[in-house]
Homo-oligomer: 168 residues x 2
DNA sequence: GTCTATAGTTTGATAGAC
DNA sequence: GTCTATCAAACTATAGAC
């Protein structure tokens, strides 16, 4: 609370005029961080084209988002790790639902014989895990700066999923 | 420190007789948590059989480990999120190196035309992300308890990777 | 709406007796 | 090797003046 107050140029006590307690401030900040982040993703998923084309646009869009905002990605993963039931429900309903629904629809078009829920999660996980492991991959064989390039990650993930499901 | 002391039945002061400070205790506990966890994984990867068979054994082994020890999985993901450079290097060298090397070798056999580092990371990410998202997936469409069953996850991931790379 | 001042807790770590 | 007692710092939150 002291750090935040200092960052916005007021004292800690003044912060309590705007938010009832630390939890309220955190929830408001989290809500702000997640607002509008999903729009670009959902648009890519609902764009016109073959399933493979939509997949490519989605992976590209999601990869760019994760690469461009490391703090947001860390916040997302921290919530998955530490968020209590009520906070995760809020997040699921207000932030994830729309893009995830579009992802399952793409999954159904892409792999009608597979469980769409599992495929949708797999698509997201393939992208996210590359960034999640970035700090440790530099110490593992084959890990280069190249592998943190969103274009390289997107190309790899798209190729993997196309091979698995694509008609191409 | 008070909680840990209480859990082992001594006072907080006595804890400082065994560990210099909180960080030392944490590192020792982490080292203990990670020791031997990789053995089963590496064995599965180095077993005899076709690449597809080794893939199936690896995914099965890794999925079972993640499902059987949620605290270990959370510790792993917390280190990826918060671990400083030196701690991640220690982890990479002492815990991840051996299984990861075996994973890249499998990746080379499985997909000679792909970047083995990226493929190895993808194999791990596909498994881990399903568990990482478990608490939020119950609020997303299509999410059922079935999707937290390690057998179901392993089958899905194996099938996805086999389709992408397998000769089958 | 912001300030100073402070209450009330919790935390990591130490001193010194046994 | 464990204890009691305590310190110093950091924390969330509140009281009350302006």
């Amino acid at each position: 609370m002291r750090d935040i107050a200092g960052a916005v140029g007021i004292t800690q006590a003044a912060l309590y005029h705007h938010y009832a307690d630390k939890q309220s401030l955190y929830l408001a900040a989290m809500g702000h961080a997640f607002s509008d982040k999903a729009v670009g993703i959902t648009e890519a998923l609902q764009s016109k084209g073959t399933p493979t084309e939509r997949l490519e646009r989605f992976i590209s869009s999601f990869t760019r988002l994760m690469a461009s905002d490391p703090d947001f990605r860390a916040l997302l993963q921290r919530e998955l790790l530490d968020g209590d039931e009520s906070r995760l429900q809020l997040l699921a309903e207000q932030a994830f639902l729309e893009p995830f629904q579009a992802m399952t629809e793409l999954a159904r078009d892409l792999a009608p014989d597979c469980d769409a829920h599992l495929v949708a999660i797999s698509m997201a996980g393939l992208v996210l895990f590359h960034f999640e492991t970035a700090p440790v991959r530099q110490f593992l064989p084959g890990g280069t700066k190249r592998h943190n390039d969103p274009k390289v990650v997107a190309k790899h993930v798209t190729q993997l999923l196309s091979r698995a499901f694509g008609t191409a």
